[in-house]
């Protein structure tokens, strides 16, 4: 065989192999999952962690054989866009995801203001939306394709505040501080009601702007009300840490609450020793006595990838993929409306280690909230410790 013939034979073999492989490649169907999260600015760590968890779940689902619908196998692909935690960018992200990328499923979204923009466009296009946004206005019968992938104030606060009141029966007054945005305002409304129901008087309820650099005057004002409890609601952990540090400096010693607190790292970075004793409502611990091996392993990988332990916000972006897989297989369809109809009745294995489904008809008028465990944590000896857990 001449050199020319050898080359010709090799070329033909490669061509044949390509034709043979083509149907296999075409058999792999990919479902794009849009993510609208902050990937820049102070909240970037949440977005990066969300992206990491979405990719982790997508990879796990791929390794376990994908999503089976009508004999076809589908795999997930996460497309992450930066909503910069504001409505204007949230609108741009929504347009890019739905109109340019052709996304029909939102695997997760973060921030009440940008998610409102996303939800509006999604509903017009019949897309399915998963969100971690806390705003109660995003839920209900008017939003039939929206599902919430983490606990929100409506779920967390009654248990968290109830637990704190039980532990500190002498505490009779609370001063509250929240960010001046949709998340802070909706959190404040629910928290004020729950504190009142628990017999704790709200002596002050202030707002501050995100991006504030000087917390001393705010702390002095809060302390001037002489509250037994300071509740910094939906503040980011780093801002909350700055407030607690200033409060400690001026000699205030009371009960510290960070309702949306998702982790101790950011809090400790700014509060130092003043982080001690802070109660949180959305924290997750990865200690061997409370976490599964899988949780610990994923968390270790996350620490390398994003530099911080995972939190409840980010975990929601893992659970939503398993919920979508379960609903698609139950509906035997990848049509978002059919998947949304099947979603309330499915159960799936959550990152928290148990099989869960959806609830929320009583509170929101529609089954749309993931039935996740509510974990009360507290900073003790510099570590975040789980002090209470309730699965609704």
């Amino acid at each position: 065989m001449t050199v020319f013939n050898k080359c010709a034979m090799s070329g033909a073999a490669i061509l044949l192999a390509s034709f043979a492989a083509a149907p296999m490649a075409q058999a792999e169907e990919v479902i794009k999952l849009g993510l609208s999260t902050p990937l820049s600015g102070a909240a970037a760590i949440w977005g990066k962690g969300a992206e990491f968890m979405c990719n982790t779940a997508a990879e796990e689902i791929r390794e376990s054989g994908g999503v089976s619908v009508q004999g076809e196998t589908y795999f997930f692909e996460c497309l992450s866009y930066d909503n910069k935690y504001n409505a204007a960018e949230g609108t741009k992200v929504a347009q890019a995801l739905f109109n340019r990328e052709g996304v029909k499923f939102i695997g997760g979204s973060l921030g009440t203001a940008p998610v409102r923009a996303l939800q509006s466009l999604a509903e017009r296009q019949g897309a399915l939306v998963f969100t971690t946004a806390w705003g109660a206005s995003l839920k209900g019968p008017d939003h039939p394709t929206t599902f919430t992938q983490m606990n929100t104030p409506g779920e967390i606060l009654p248990m968290l505040i109830g637990y704190i009141v039980e532990q500190h029966p002498d505490a009779k007054t609370v001063a509250m501080l929240n960010p001046n945005d949709a998340t802070g305002q909706e959190t404040e409304e629910i928290a004020a009601k729950v504190w009142d129901e628990q017999g704790v008087e709200v002596v002050a309820s202030d707002y501050y702007e995100r991006g504030t650099t000087e917390f001393q005057p705010i702390a002095v004002r809060l302390a001037s009300f002489k509250p037994d409890i300071v509740d910094v609601g939906a503040m980011p952990p780093s801002d909350a840490g700055a407030i607690f540090k200033e409060l400690e400096l001026i000699g205030w010693t009371g009960i510290k609450v960070l309702e949306v607190g998702t982790g101790a790292d950011g809090l400790k970075a700014t509060a130092g020793a003043a982080a001690e004793g802070v109660y949180m409502g959305a924290g997750v611990t990865f200690r061997p006595d409370t976490a599964t091996e899988h949780q610990i392993a994923v968390n270790e990988r996350a620490k390398v990838a994003i530099g911080e332990s995972l939190n409840a916000v980010q975990i929601g972006f893992y659970d939503s993929l398993y919920a979508l897989k379960a609903a698609m297989e139950a509906a035997d369809s990848v049509d978002p409306r059919a998947v949304a109809e099947a979603m309330p009745n499915v159960t799936f294995r959550s990152f928290y280690g148990s099989d869960i489904g959806f609830y929320g008809e009583e509170r929101y008028g529609r089954v749309q909230q993931m039935r996740l465990p509510i974990i009360v944590t507290q900073v003790r000896d510099g570590e975040l410790v789980e002090v209470g857990r309730l699965t609704p």
Partner: protein, 222 residues
């Protein structure tokens, strides 16, 4: 030691940015402004990529606190105030009483006239940029222990600094000090007596009033 290294690194970065960027936009206010914004976004992105978005704790250089007239204040903040006064004094004296200062003021008022008088514009602009880099680096090193340190820490201080300069007047050191005191006063008193978010609104309202009735700023000349 870490602070000294940080200041040295910032100065080195300042030199690079000037030589490869701002040198080509001299006497071009719009071009250099766009370059500044672009560099800010670029550096934010690079730092975010390299260090992640995690907030870092920076230990105080001077730990502890003291009581002054019943008010508790950290030694770090006192030191920060002291250094701010010292640097402002040195800058004010340098601009008014040294050859470099006079040359800086001359090129700021009228660069063409200054050049005709033999002032080496390029070299003076370079020194001016280095002084600005040094002041920013010292401020950053001192404010980090009492602030929230992340790759995007600069943005909020940049806006505040810009507001102070607008109120005080471009090109005036006493004006910049006065503007800073205005911002601090509103932030502190407003944050204590009212909701903190009202204080923020009041600062922006003050800027609007100044721009409407005294566009050059309280002590601005041009």
């Amino acid at each position: 030691m870490a602070s000294a290294c940080g200041i040295a690194a910032a100065l080195a970065l300042g030199v690079i940015i000037y030589l490869f960027g701002f040198r080509y936009f001299q006497r071009d206010l719009v071009g250099s402004f766009i370059l500044s914004i672009g560099l800010m976004l670029l550096l934010d992105g690079v730092l975010l990529r390299v260090f992640g978005g995690t907030v870092r704790g920076v230990p105080e250089i001077f730990p502890g606190s003291v009581s002054i007239a019943g008010a508790q204040i950290t030694v770090q903040r006192l030191f920060l105030c002291g250094v701010a006064f010292l640097m402002a004094g040195i800058l004010y004296w340098t601009l008014g009483h040294t050859r470099l200062g006079r040359a800086l003021r001359a090129v700021a008022y009228d660069h063409e006239a200054a050049m005709m008088m033999g002032v080496p514009y390029g070299r003076i602009a370079f020194f001016g940029f280095l002084i600005a880099s040094l002041l920013a680096a010292i401020a950053g090193a001192l404010i980090a222990p009492v602030s929230i340190v992340s790759p995007v820490i600069g943005t909020d201080y940049l806006i505040k600094g810009f507001i102070a300069v607008i109120i005080g007047g471009l090109g005036s050191v006493p004006g910049a000090i006065l503007g800073s005191l205005f911002v601090a006063l509103i932030e502190t008193l407003g944050g204590y007596y009212f909701d903190s978010s009202y204080a923020t609104i009041a600062i922006f309202a003050l800027v609007i009033v100044v721009l409407l009735f005294r566009p050059k700023g309280v002590m601005g000349r041009a």
